[in-house]
């Protein structure tokens, strides 16, 4: 009994402060989260427009796609249909992978029949400035334009159809390639099952 009293005597300020500061953060987060989400959506639209310049509209599909996220947890992925005058010109989705410092969030653009990558861009990353954050550079990203929408192959020689990782940012660039492969294969399979794109065997 005495030890419990001693514990509270010593730590009551820490307990009260934790609740107070927690509340302060919760209130700030509640007040700003809508704006932060709006900023993220605006950024997604801007990046998607850059990756698929021919698209006029990006419409979220009514039904989400069930995949296994990086790390093994199930994820309901939101897919966006990119259209130009009602014609599907591409597909957009976000992919989250595990980088060197933190999660890497990507915007991925695939062409209308889900056969090749139109490209990707970085939605959020905390990779080391000057090293890991070189995954944002055009030189690295441009390699993915036109790559098959499926399992991507890493090579050191830069053979056609393969991707070269960045020296000095190997972990981050490999994480991007693995994340893309992980998502592309699953999304493609799910889309074929749902009849959103043609099956490989039929085309």
């Amino acid at each position: 009994m005495r030890s419990i009293k001693h514990f509270f005597e010593q730590s009551w300020l820490l307990i009260v402060a934790s609740f107070f500061f927690g509340l302060l953060i919760a209130v700030t987060n509640a007040a700003l989260s809508a704006r932060i989400t709006w900023n993220a959506t605006a950024k997604l639209n801007t990046l998607a427009s850059g990756l698929l310049p021919e698209a006029k509209n990006f419409t979220p599909l009514d039904e989400t796609i069930d995949i296994v996220a990086w790390g093994g947890k199930p994820q309901a992925l939101q897919l966006y249909r990119a259209t130009d005058n009602g014609q599907t010109v591409g597909w957009i989705f976000t992919a989250i992978g595990s980088g060197f410092a933190d999660k890497i969030e990507l915007v991925v653009a695939v062409n209308g029949n889900f056969e090749s990558l139109a490209g990707f861009d970085i939605l959020a990353s905390n990779e080391t400035p000057g090293f890991g954050d070189r995954i944002k550079e055009d030189g690295f990203r441009n390699q993915f334009k036109g790559a098959p929408a499926g399992e991507l192959v890493i090579s050191s020689s830069g053979d056609p159809g393969t991707v070269v990782t960045i020296s000095g940012a190997t972990v981050s660039s490999t994480a991007v390639v693995e994340t893309l492969s992980h998502y592309l294969t699953q999304v493609k399979e799910q889309m074929q099952q749902k009849g959103l794109v043609d099956n490989d065997n039929e085309s």
Binding site: Q10, L13, L24, T28, N29, N39, A124
Partner: protein, 206 residues
């Protein structure tokens, strides 16, 4: 007991000015080197970082000063960190909401303010021993001193490294930018030269 209002005012002025020169956190105490080197490639991010530090310093100094008589010696660092982490999180959320591009540019360096030695040093050296007004003035002096230092460093790097200031071209077209100054090596070089310059001035003064 009576207090001398002139003496009190002089104390406040002395505390405010200490952060600007005599105890400047970067040039004299060499504290907070991580953001000093990392976000000073241009003036805008340096100014934003400086203002975030001012906000966190003032808020954490106020809170620490308010609870200074309740602090248990062995739990004080934990309390300081908890307080600082709260206000850094709030600053980070504000940046994400109102300056998303800048928040992205500063990346992990805003959350890293939590471990910035300047803030914990002021909580320990000033706020935990002084009333609120003195703690606010100390935070203001140190914060403004830190912001000015960051802006001077960033100004030199951006001007020589790109020929611009606040992303506006100020150098003539004939000027060839020394791009190395915008890279990490440029941060160390510029800081070294500025520290040497500050030491030279203070030696002459003394």
């Amino acid at each position: 007991m009576t207090t001398n209002p002139d003496g009190q005012a002089s104390n406040y002025t002395k505390t405010l000015l200490a952060g600007l020169w005599r105890e400047n956190p970067v040039f004299r105490l060499l504290l907070g080197m991580c953001p000093t080197l990392a976000v000073t490639a241009a003036v805008k991010p340096a100014l934003t970082m400086g203002l975030c530090v001012v906000f966190v310093l003032i808020c954490s100094n106020i809170m620490v000063s308010l609870m200074r008589n309740l602090l248990k010696p062995h739990l004080r660092i934990l309390m300081f960190t908890l307080t600082i982490a709260t206000f850094v999180t709030i600053a980070d959320l504000f940046l994400k909401a109102f300056l998303p591009a800048m928040s992205e540019k500063l990346g992990p360096y805003v959350p890293l303010i939590i471990v910035n030695c300047i803030i914990i040093a002021r909580a320990e050296a000033c706020a935990s021993k002084n009333p609120i007004l003195m703690s606010i003035i100390d935070a203001l002096g140190m914060g403004v001193g830190f912001t000015l230092t960051l802006c001077i460093l960033a100004g030199v790097r951006e001007l020589i490294g790109t020929g611009k200031l606040f992303e506006i071209q100020v150098m003539p077209n004939a000027f060839v930018p020394w791009a190395a100054l915008t890279m990490p090596v440029g941060a160390f070089l510029t800081l070294g030269f500025l520290l040497a310059f500050v030491n030279l001035i203070s030696k002459k003064h003394s």
